[in-house]
């Protein structure tokens, strides 16, 4: 045994060089390589390309076309930051995130706790919450158009209490409505994350809290919430990242970011500027600013949620 240990701690010089180069577990590197290659190709390269584009006068050209793409420094960023439409889009997405992320986390946790109990129809309910998540956005948007248009079901039920202008053409309500729509649509996925986290909360904690006289609310606040905090961090960060990439809903639900730009998102603007209007350099600058904003928000979220 001793001999083995001694041999193990004093590897041959050749082996030492391999270890220095590839680490103590070279097989791990081999296993990691496919994902690293995927990451490099699908995320890092396009992102690097986008950063490069954002500093150049860039447009898409046919192979063989003689075009100049000079370095323009911060010109694209100046264009973007000086555009009131872009500033409005970033403001809109902030409103969206402020409503969507807390709503998603709160609803997902509450429903996960409910679905974790031995209630009637639990499997049906779990599936029911998951169905919107796996249904194509286009189809679900159609249902919400039916619900929230001027003469839709919701306004019919509300009668004189229906907002005027109606939901989808109301500058104050359009973005909050989209935030609620997205929260509802993605709820199934986040409930699933919380359900997995709830499986790992020791029953003894609830039992001892009950023995100490804690009621249902106190048990939820003092046991469940702290126990699923890592899941909450994940939910908040994922909801922030997916929410910041909002496109389909303003494109379809409010007719291209309407009314009057009140639901335009930065990604919708990137589509308009980059693909429709042939200015991918400006679109890339919007994208880079969005990435910086999302990373900053995610770091703040993480700090706040993992503080204790």
């Amino acid at each position: 045994m001793t001999v083995h240990l001694t041999r193990g701690t004093q590897p041959r010089p050749g082996h030492r060089r391999v270890t220095a180069l590839l680490g103590r577990h070279p097989v791990g590197l081999a296993l990691m390589a496919p994902y690293a290659a995927y990451l490099l190709l699908v995320f890092a390269y396009p992102f690097g390309f986008a950063v490069w584009m954002s500093f150049h006068d860039y447009f898409f050209a046919a192979p063989g076309a003689q075009v100049e793409r000079p370095f323009v420094g911060l010109e694209n960023y100046r264009t973007v930051l000086g555009d009131p439409g872009v500033r409005q889009a970033f403001g809109n997405i902030l409103v969206f995130l402020l409503i969507n992320v807390p709503l998603t986390a709160a609803l997902a946790l509450t429903l996960a706790v409910a679905l974790n109990q031995a209630i009637r129809g639990r499997t049906f309910l779990r599936v029911a919450y998951y169905v919107p998540y796996v249904t194509a956005s286009v189809a679900v948007v159609g249902v919400w158009l039916f619900l929230f248009s001027s003469d839709g079901l919701v306004n019919t039920l509300l009668g004189p209490l229906a907002p005027d202008p109606s939901w989808l053409v109301n500058e104050t309500l359009a973005m909050p409505l989209i935030a609620v729509f997205v929260a509802w649509k993605q709820l199934g996925f986040f409930i699933l994350l919380y359900l997995a986290a709830l499986q790992n909360v020791p029953k003894e904690l609830y039992e001892s809290a009950a023995v100490d006289g804690a009621g249902a609310w106190q048990r939820f606040r003092s046991v469940t919430v702290p126990a699923v905090r890592p899941a909450t961090t994940l939910v908040v960060i994922v909801a922030t990242v997916t929410g910041a990439n909002l496109f389909t809903e303003p494109y379809l639900l409010t007719g291209g970011g309407g009314p009057n730009g009140a639901s335009t998102s930065p990604v919708l603007l990137m589509y308009q500027r980059g693909l429709e209007q042939g200015a991918p350099d400006v679109a890339a600058a919007i994208g880079v600013l969005l990435v910086v904003g999302v990373v900053a928000l995610s770091m703040i979220n993480r700090r706040l949620l993992e503080r204790s």
Partner: protein, 427 residues
């Protein structure tokens, strides 16, 4: 390590990017090369049927220069798909659905072939289309598109709804703005339809082609949105058109919320702004009539201009066998094929003197005669740099002031005109 790995990724990707940034392959094609070619057709059912028949006719006579026809691949818009194909270098030789508004962008991408490269091409285009062909020339004086067919837009009205509202359904008063507004108010107040007219109030750049622009063309006697590098919509005529639409929105005669369906077919609107394609679509469902778009003073119908809603054919630079492509282009726009297109789709080939070229067709289909006459008085979108950005800039200002009334019309359109002047002046 936690920081060095992402940093390494970034540096590597930037390196790759810099290495690939100027990846021009330098492929050039010869304008005399002949051989098989590929074309894309619109996925409109009638147009597709015409295209297939045309291809069959060509292939029957040219075994060594066969055409392979495909439907335009699906995407959010044709322009997006074509732009991607240009960048990827796999665009076909010809696309029979090229929007004039997208031509400046495709040209900037190096994606189009100047048709003037072919002997007699400019003469062929001018002879076929007449003076209207000049609207399709690019700023360098060349044709990068062949004017193919138009869908001149007019006011379509539902005779039954108008009659129920107490309006003369055979000759409804729609020629002046005052007449049009009075008719619209009657329709709305009678409750027979929720809307008098229902153009899409959404923000897409092209929506102005079906509300503001036809009336602008009519009011100005045929001006384009931008002329000589200057925006024209800030003029008194341009503002009059905008104020007219604003009244329709303010009074609820035109709704501010997008209708998810066909408001005219569903009886939700008494009128619509449409092209001749509507005859086939609504012919059986609605008892319809057609009138020119209104002008403030009520110009005689024979003087009213409108938006063409044309779709053209362009040759793409990825094409190898360009001589064949040019011959196909002439074949597909010959008198015989234009007649077949008219017969199959009801869309108007962009030919000078259309009614006299196909008298039998119009005698047999009198409903199309009005549109054929209107086809001789159409205005195209301006062929200027940043065309799409210009339309989006206009649409945003129009939404803000005309549809949603957040700013005075003159202020919003005045600011947009300044931006457009700058955009049109760029290269």
């Amino acid at each position: 390590m936690r920081r060095t790995v992402p940093a390494a990724f970034l540096v590597l990707s930037l390196g790759l990017t810099a290495a690939c940034g100027d990846g021009d392959s330098g492929t050039k094609a010869d304008s005399s090369a002949k051989g098989p070619i590929t074309i894309w057709l619109s996925n409109n059912k009638e147009e597709l049927a015409w295209g297939k028949a045309m291809v069959e006719a060509w292939n029957g006579q040219h075994a060594d220069q066969k055409i392979t026809a495909q439907e335009l691949p699906a995407g959010k818009s044709s322009e997006e798909v074509i732009g991607a194909a240009i960048t990827a270098g796999n665009a076909p030789c010809l696309i029979f659905n090229t929007a004039p508004a997208a031509v400046p962008q495709f040209e900037k991408q190096g994606g189009l072939v100047a048709l003037d490269d072919f002997d007699g091409a400019a003469d062929y285009i001018k002879q076929r289309t007449g003076a209207a062909a000049d609207q399709y020339k690019s700023p360098d004086g060349k044709f990068y598109q062949l004017p193919w067919k138009s869908n001149p837009v007019m006011i379509f009205y539902n005779k039954e709804i108008l009659a129920k509202a107490g309006v003369d359904s055979e000759n409804p008063p729609l020629s002046t703005y005052d007449d049009f507004l009075a008719t619209a108010r009657k329709i709305k107040s009678s409750g027979v339809a929720p809307a008098a007219i229902y153009p899409a109030p959404s923000s897409e750049f092209f929506q102005s082609w079906f509300d503001y622009y036809p009336l602008f063309a009519a009011e100005t006697g045929g001006k384009q949105l931008v002329e000589n590098g200057k925006a024209q919509f800030g003029s008194p005529e341009g503002l009059r058109v905008a104020e007219f639409w604003k009244k329709l929105y303010d009074e609820g005669l035109a709704p501010k919320e997008k209708y998810n369906g066909d408001s005219f077919a569903d009886g939700k609107a008494a009128m619509a702004i449409v092209g001749p394609w509507a005859i086939a679509v609504y012919g059986q469902k609605v008892k319809w009539g057609a009138a020119p778009v209104p002008t403030s003073a009520g110009k005689p119908a024979a003087e009213v201009k409108t938006f063409s809603d044309a779709k053209n054919v362009a040759m793409y630079s990825a094409c190898k066998n360009r001589a064949t492509a040019w011959e196909v282009l002439k074949f597909a726009t010959s008198k015989e094929q234009d007649g077949a297109l008219l017969d199959a789709t009801g869309q108007m080939p962009l030919r000078a003197d259309l009614p006299s070229t196909y008298p039998d067709y119009f005698a047999k289909n009198p409903a199309y005669q009005t549109f054929a006459e209107q086809a001789g008085r159409t205005v195209e979108v301006p062929n200027v740099p940043n065309s799409i950005t210009i339309w989006q800039t206009f649409r945003d200002a129009y939404s803000e002031s005309v549809i949603f009334g957040k700013r005075p019309v003159a202020d919003a359109l005045g600011d947009a005109a300044k931006k457009v002047d700058g955009l049109a002046g760029q290269r």
